[in-house]
């Protein structure tokens, strides 16, 4: 495929204009209730707060790359460990962002990654422990318009 210069420019510019190159054009966006349902299914009930701490910036300069990390308090032994963690974004077209599986060999139930956020919304993590209990944390991230083009 050979693009003309004009097309190349239009495409590269398009990425700027849409802000979140990956997500903006979809139209359908998850409602917070959808995430609630997903969470309940995953946790097998209402997760409690505590034991899991989510770290995200309060405000993001661009929705394409929002740093996210979490840490769960757990001894991570064969008998008592974190089995999995779900990461949701309640305003994204696909609210499930990632699911993480840990083992006692993980040492700690921590992870850091970069996520896309289509707009200002809540980021939610839910940790499921080996004994079946579950914990959650939520933080809002403001996604802002940037640059001269807005």
């Amino acid at each position: 495929m050979q693009l003309t210069r004009r097309e190349v420019l239009a495409l590269s510019v398009g990425a700027t204009v849409f802000g979140v190159a990956g997500l903006r054009a979809g139209g359908a966006v998850a409602a917070p209730e959808d995430v609630k349902k997903l969470m309940m299914e995953f946790a097998g009930g209402e997760p409690k707060t505590g034991r899991i701490a989510l770290t995200v910036p309060e405000i993001a300069e661009n929705g394409n790359s929002v740093p996210v990390s979490f840490a769960v308090e757990s001894p991570m032994t064969d008998k008592d460990y974190v089995s999995s963690v779900m990461l949701y974004a309640d305003g994204n077209p696909v609210p499930t962002v990632a699911s993480f599986t840990f083992t006692p060999m993980s040492g700690k139930a921590v992870a850091t990654t970069r996520m896309r956020l289509a707009k200002t919304q809540n980021v939610i993590v839910v940790a499921k422990m080996s004994d079946g209990s579950s914990f959650t944390d939520t933080k809002q991230v403001k996604v802002t318009i940037g640059g001269c083009g807005g």
Binding site: G22, T96, T113
Partner: protein, 108 residues
């Protein structure tokens, strides 16, 4: 699809029982399946949908990814190392391609 080798950061050595931090960076567009081209057609999803880390054949960490993970996915996590051995990493593309990488660590 990646022509680029992933970047991996694992300490060369560790004390027995030490929890070490592992960082990985993979070249990938992470096309979310939510975008449309200029004619309004949805661009099909093409992402790394799974990442796994094993140590001496045993699972350490795994992650299922969706289109909400940023392009060129970065993953940072930990592993408890009790013996010398090799970490094996795998990235699974929607098109079925599996990219793998290995990194040894010596326990002192």
């Amino acid at each position: 699809m990646s022509e680029t080798k992933p970047r991996i950061k694992v300490p060369e050595t560790a004390a027995a029982g030490e929890v070490v931090t592992i960082k990985t960076l993979m070249s990938h567009i992470m096309e979310s399946g939510q975008r449309k081209d200029k004619d309004g057609n949805v661009i099909p999803r093409k992402i790394i949908n799974k990442f796994t880390c094993e140590f001496n054949g045993k699972p350490v960490f795994a992650c299922n990814l969706e289109g909400g993970i940023s392009a060129n996915p970065y993953m940072e996590f930990t592993a408890k190392v009790t013996e010398s051995g090799t970490f094996k990493f795998a990235w699974v593309d929607d098109d079925g391609t599996v990219t793998t990488a290995e990194q040894a660590i010596a326990v002192k």
